[in-house]
């Protein structure tokens, strides 16, 4: 196998790991709600949606490990990399703050991922990715519905819920631009017809957000410069704290199994 082929594999792995990292980190954020959700029903909902994301991440890491062929397991990807090696977008690592922030973050992400997976399922040249995508699309469809309903309910709710939603929009909107930026690895994967160009999903995302915001009486702020860096491994301060907890068991007891 030539150097070109080896490097094509490496970029494929990198492109898949980016998506897996998004799912893992957001799934972990949702798990942090365990025992803290405002009502029991949301306690169940957040944990279950966190599980969906974790399941998607596991399937993607396992697939990346197989393509790489160096024996890295899903656990190696999830627990044994350093912060700079995580390539999740900044949006998913943002702190939970309050329920409004969490639901808005969920809406922004699901409004992107649902059409993303639908497109992967229909067009990817990789059969395993198509299989993962067909399942994930259905899951993201109800994540989107769930988050959309909450954003509408809170945005068009009480004075306090509306204020909290508006604060969340101001805080998080600047992180949405990164969803549509293609890293070099992603650009290669797009060229290889493995994954869709994230920019091509922009119109549908804009439309979904506009529909929800209109019903929620929210206004999207104009952001001149979107925050980015996650795809290069440059994370915010929150990420280190998140990883300290996520990786604790494997760091403290290397190689431990259940």
């Amino acid at each position: 196998m030539g150097a070109a082929a080896a490097s094509a594999e490496a970029t494929t792995v990198a492109a898949i790991v980016e998506i897996a990292d998004d799912c893992l980190i957001l799934g972990h954020r949702l798990s942090e709600w365990c025992g803290h959700a405002p009502i029991l029903e949301e306690e169940l909902a957040l944990a279950n949606m966190g599980l969906d994301l974790l399941g998607q991440a596991r399937a993607l890491y396992a697939h990346a490990g197989e393509i790489e062929g160096k024996g890295r397991s899903e656990d190696d990807f999830a627990f044994l990399r350093r912060e700079r090696e995580y390539r999740n977008c900044l949006l998913v690592e943002r702190e939970n703050r309050d329920f409004a922030h969490t639901m808005l973050r969920q809406l922004y992400f699901a409004a992107f991922m649902q059409p993303f997976w639908r497109t992967v399922a229909a067009t990817s040249s990789d059969e395993t990715l198509r299989g993962i995508a067909a399942k994930a699309e259905k899951e993201m469809a109800y994540h989107l519905r769930h988050a959309g309903e909450w954003v509408i309910r809170m945005g068009d709710g009480t004075e306090e819920s509306a204020r909290r939603m508006a604060d969340a929009v101001i805080e998080l909107h600047r992180y949405t631009g990164e969803l549509f930026m293609a890293s070099p690895a992603r650009a290669d994967a797009v060229a290889a017809k493995l994954l869709p160009d994230p920019g091509s999903l922009r119109a549908e995302w804009d439309e979904t957000i506009a529909t929800v915001f209109a019903a929620a009486k929210l206004t999207a702020p104009e952001i001149r410069v979107m925050q980015k860096g996650g795809r290069d491994g440059i994370h915010g301060e929150d990420m280190g704290h998140l990883l300290a907890e996520l990786q604790f068991m494997q760091r403290a007891y290397p190689g431990q199994t259940w």
Binding site: A45, G50, D52, G55, R130, K135, K138, E139, R145
Partner: protein, 176 residues
């Protein structure tokens, strides 16, 4: 052990493959660990039981949800049931085509209802309208005057409903 050994990886076309038929029967009868009133075959998560090129029994199972915590338990239950029947098998996890509630058999739906779980309504599809709700009939009294209490119930695959007619709470097997 006088049954003819399959040679070409396919069950013999002329002589019945009793072990394979038995394996299918045993695997099909394994109950779901979370919803024990239905079997893995009723749910449509048992995709196939066949022989590989070496003649070994291969059971293909598919998860319901990506993160379904019961996946490993189900795989182990099927493997154990087959072992108890004296059949060595390999369990394979397949994700394509993806499972949807459309895979649940009519018999499975009836068993769910009899057990007190409302079966999924309609067929799966991308329902995106916000605040749209399915009309779910109460599995006890049959009334459609029901209300969703929570999108998630006792497991990821179920929502929690309440019947306004008989006042009983019940689980609804969500449609995905």
């Amino acid at each position: 052990m006088s049954a003819p050994a399959p040679t070409s990886g396919k069950p013999s076309g002329t002589v019945a493959d009793f072990e394979l038929a038995r394996a299918l029967e045993v695997a099909s009868a394994v109950p779901d660990p979370e919803v024990p009133c239905v079997t893995v075959a009723d749910l449509g998560i048992l995709r196939s039981v066949s022989r590989d090129e070496t003649g070994r029994i291969v059971v293909r199972l598919t998860p319901t949800y990506s993160g379904c915590p019961a996946v490993i338990a189900i795989e182990m239950a099927v493997e154990t049931a087959l072992l108890s029947a004296g059949i060595d098998s390999t369990i394979e996890r397949v994700i394509s085509p993806p499972w949807t509630t459309d895979w649940i058999t009519d018999e499975g739906r009836e068993k769910l209802r009899a057990y007190g779980i409302a079966p999924p309504v309609g067929s799966s599809g991308g329902r995106r309208a916000f605040f749209a709700e399915d009309t779910v009939a109460c599995p006890r009294c049959g009334s459609t005057d029901t209300a969703k209490v929570s999108e998630f119930g006792s497991t990821a695959c179920k929502a929690h409903y309440r019947c306004n007619a008989c006042a009983e709470p019940f689980d609804y097997f969500k449609c995905i």
